[in-house]
């Protein structure tokens, strides 16, 4: 038998799975959001008006996006230097460091979140250390604060920043740095005028992944942030599985989707422009 499928037809089964299990549920979600009542019988814009008529929800959206921005900032500030150090290491050490970076990614988010409870709790490592050094006399409250949450998210999301960064940076031609140095530029100047612009695509890919992940990190947000710090994921969970107001939960989760995706779209637009500058 010499029958040969047209190659693209091999993608059909996955296409069908995505149509029935991905696209259809998301379309239904949009549909459900346009019902006024919890029993999903009266169509209308009621839930949208209820959600966007309340200034509290604007604050929740803003807090959620800001949380993502803070996590992105923190992972860039300490992740970028680590990527810089990485590309100068000999290849054996690179393999070890890469292993260390990837390992937490394969470790359950719940475990990583739990680890930060042990580190940041009242009797945790940080408080014990600070009291032992005599810096403070009373334990600091780090859990259930945004600072504690951002610190935890920095570790939890770090691999997502480092992997794309390292991937782009290790393809940079080392001669460029040598050329810059031999022309008299300091290492700082080489960093900001040569390395940073060339690594932009990796940096932006990392920012995108960290942002998407931090804004939707339900477990870390609820466990480290607690119930007083309200972000969209907690609101969606409360409305759908505690209050059972599905249309309202649908509006909240579409707001999450739209706000996160618009930031991501803006970032990837910048990413395309920066890589266009390099090659074009």
């Amino acid at each position: 038998m010499r029958w040969r499928p047209a190659e693209w037809q091999l993608a059909l089964p996955l296409g069908l799975a995505f149509a029935s299990l991905f696209a259809a549920p998301l379309l239904l979600l949009v549909g459900v959001s346009f019902f006024n009542d919890e029993r999903i019988t009266q169509p209308g814009f009621g839930q949208w008006i209820k959600f966007f008529g309340d200034p509290f929800h604007y604050k929740v959206i803003a807090d959620t996006l800001l949380l993502g921005a803070k996590a992105v900032f923190a992972t860039v500030v300490i992740g970028y230097p680590l990527a810089l150090v990485f590309i100068d290491l000999p290849s054996r050490l690179q393999r070890v460091l890469l292993f260390v970076i990837v390992m937490p990614l394969l470790l359950s988010v719940v475990v990583r979140t739990f680890a930060w409870i042990v580190v940041l709790g009242r009797e945790g490592v940080v408080n014990q250390l600070l009291i032992g050094l005599g810096v403070i006399s009373e334990p600091l409250r780090l859990l259930q604060t945004e600072l504690g949450l951002v610190i935890s998210l920095t570790q939890i999301e770090m691999p997502l920043m480092l992997l794309p960064l390292i991937s782009v940076m290790s393809r940079l031609d080392p001669n460029l740095r040598d050329a810059s140095a031999s022309l008299g530029a300091s290492r700082w100047r080489t960093l900001f005028t040569v390395i940073v612009p060339l690594s932009m695509p990796g940096l932006i890919a990392g920012c995108l992944l960290v942002f998407a992940s931090a804004t939707t990190a339900f477990i870390s947000q609820t466990v480290i942030g607690g119930v007083r710090l309200i972000y969209l994921p907690l609101l969606i969970w409360q409305q759908s599985l505690v209050v059972f107001n599905w249309p309202f939960a649908a509006v909240a989760s579409l707001s999450l989707l739209i706000s996160v995706l618009s930031v991501i779209a803006a970032l990837s637009f910048l990413g395309r422009r920066s890589s266009g500058n390099l090659h074009g």
Partner: protein, 273 residues
């Protein structure tokens, strides 16, 4: 001039080196601290741990006292195995079909298949719950498998596509010109060469399914409890020290699995590219 440059170089080394060191400490220390805490003799999760004992591990492995945890582990493993198997089948086929296709539709399809990576998982989880409920399906492990397959298949697609794009097209032409059928070429030439890529993707997909929260949160019930959701419950209500033991087991398992994957398929290299 020479002095000024060396000052700049020194400050560069201090700032960049210092921040990089901080990054490594932040990445590694929580994992080490949890591992140490899980062997504590005390009843609370203090650090440094008091004494050494295996009490929390004994409680965790006790089949009577920890039955709900064991059931959640079994459910999670079963779902991860099925969703990965389905994902490998559908994902590898799709990668074969789309990698060399330059048509605009192929690029669109590819980005749709990758979109679960950036789409908020909770949005999809809630949508799946509403969808399955409104078309009349009762909650079951099968529904969780379907949901997990959708959100983990991007890992398989990405690593398989990377392997395929490094495959020399001349191999396919020579196989065909020697009279091999398409299926024979796939089976004897293409599959053996891309198998490490598929294996790396399958491993990532399996781990992602074990760890999935957003889909399991909405689709699992008391009967189909999943491990991360049960652990979340244990952390939310009373801070049960058995979580430290569960974490210890998961850390050891992830470490061992990663070593195996590193030796067999070069996992970190594949994730980087």
């Amino acid at each position: 001039m020479g002095r000024r440059r060396s000052f700049a170089d020194l400050s560069y080394a201090l700032v960049v080196g210092g921040l990089a060191l901080l990054a490594v400490v932040i990445i590694v220390s929580p994992v080490v601290i949890v591992l140490m805490t899980s062997f504590t003799e005390g009843r609370s999760l203090k650090f440094p741990p008091q004494g050494f004992s295996l009490q929390w591990y004994e409680q965790l492995f006790d089949p009577v006292r920890s039955r709900p945890i064991h059931r959640a582990v079994a459910n999670s493993l079963e779902v991860a195995a099925w969703s990965t198997a389905l994902g490998v089948l559908l994902g590898a086929m799709a990668a074969l079909g789309l990698t060399r296709n330059r048509h605009a539709a192929a690029r669109v399809a590819d980005s749709v298949f990758m979109s679960p990576l950036v789409l908020p998982g909770l949005t999809f989880g809630l949508a799946a719950l509403m969808y399955f409920t409104l078309i009349g399906f009762r909650p079951s492990l099968n529904l969780i498998v379907a949901g997990h397959m959708i959100v983990t298949v991007p890992f398989i697609l990405r690593t398989t596509t990377a392997s395929l794009s490094q495959l020399d097209p001349a191999l396919l032409d020579s196989s065909r010109s020697l009279g091999a059928s398409w299926f024979y070429t796939m089976r004897r030439v293409v599959l053996p060469l891309i198998l490490p890529g598929i294996a790396a993707g399958a491993f990532l997909s399996f781990m992602a399914s074990l760890d999935n929260v957003p889909v399991s949160l909405f689709l699992s019930t008391a009967r189909t409890d999943m491990l991360p959701i049960r652990m979340w419950g244990m952390m939310e209500s009373t801070l049960d020290p058995r979580i430290a033991a569960v974490s210890g087991v998961l850390i050891a398992a992830a470490f061992l699995l990663m070593l195996v994957m590193e030796w067999t398929v070069g996992l970190t290299r594949r994730m980087r590219d």
